[in-house]
């Protein structure tokens, strides 16, 4: 699959990206993400450690939800067009939660599209908010300024 660059001419402030629904987050997902991401903090994978920290259960890595936002963006534009991605983690994501990723175009200026991003759970909790900048301009020839 290759993703086409969004056409600047067809893009408007206020346009929404097709939301990306995520499968319910399982303990298996957390274990596999811990291993592959290198974040081995036991609070995400070991219920004993979570309880020792005063929590009822493990919860998902914030970076897992940020990775889902990455999927939203690279499904919309080729990754080499992504100039920046930043998020604020606003609430924890419990096991079994069903996140959905959202993006809205908030500015189009000088060939750059700015998107407002959010991850929301089925119960309405916003777990991440953020912004991304996507370069819509044709690529420069090699060596051009």
């Amino acid at each position: 699959m290759s993703v086409a660059v969004p056409e600047p001419a067809g893009l408007r402030v206020g346009d929404e990206l097709a939301p990306l629904p995520i499968e319910p987050i399982t303990r298996t997902t957390l274990a596999l993400f811990a291993g592959a991401s290198g974040d081995h903090n036991p609070i995400h994978i070991d219920v004993d450690a979570a309880r020792a920290a005063g929590l009822d259960d493990v919860f998902a890595h914030g970076m897992l939800s940020m990775a889902y936002l990455g999927r939203l963006l690279t499904g919309w534009a080729p990754q080499e067009r992504l100039r920046s991605l930043s998020v604020r983690f606003t609430a924890i994501t419990p096991v079994h939660a069903r996140p959905t990723c959202h993006g809205t175009v908030t500015a189009i200026e000088d060939g750059l599209a700015t998107l407002a991003l959010a991850v929301r759970l089925a119960d309405g909790t916003t777990t991440l908010t953020g912004t991304a900048v996507i370069d819509l301009r044709p690529p420069h020839p090699q060596g051009a300024a």
Binding site: G35, A36, S37, A53, G62, G70, T74, L82, S84, F89
Partner: protein, 151 residues
């Protein structure tokens, strides 16, 4: 226990490096539920114009987690690792990194301050470069250190 802000600001963070292994990237891609073959199959990646499978946008945070700082110095710096939160994360991208690339990560603390009497903010900035010196991205991490004092 209160975080020693001056010690945090003065901390030297060891450089980390990593060879981007295709298998590790695929494991990450599967764990996040990505199904685009560009991220799973080197042939599909090449057909899309890439030299190999690209690292997805947030994968390279793994290089930062390779450094145990500050968690290896919790006692000296004065914090409880169980009370540290990841508050914000940003990436500013220069170019893609691909399976086979050898990357290095240099991190430093760019700010550390008491946000409230019970909460300290620490900002770490990391630059990830390829072996040829070309910069791949700059990452910024906001860590929130809560004090164990009961509210």
């Amino acid at each position: 226990m209160a975080l020693d802000l001056e010690a945090v600001k003065a901390a030297e963070i060891p450089e980390t490096s990593m060879t981007l292994e295709r298998g590790r990237l695929v494991a990450f891609v599967r764990a996040i539920g990505e199904r685009d073959p560009v991220y799973l199959d080197a042939q599909a990646a090449r057909a899309a114009g890439h030299p190999d499978i690209p690292a997805p946008p947030t994968f390279l945070f793994a290089l930062e987690t390779e450094s145990p700082f500050p968690f290896d110095q919790a006692d000296r710096l004065g914090f409880d690792p169980a009370l540290v939160l990841h508050g914000q994360q940003s990436f500013s991208y220069d170019r893609l990194a691909y399976a086979g690339d050898v990357l290095t990560c240099r991190s430093r603390i760019v700010d550390a301050y008491a946000k409230t009497p019970a909460m300290d903010f620490v900002v770490k900035r990391s630059e990830i470069r390829r072996g040829d010196g070309e910069r791949v991205l700059v990452a910024e991490t906001l860590l929130i250190f809560r004090s164990a004092v009961a509210a």
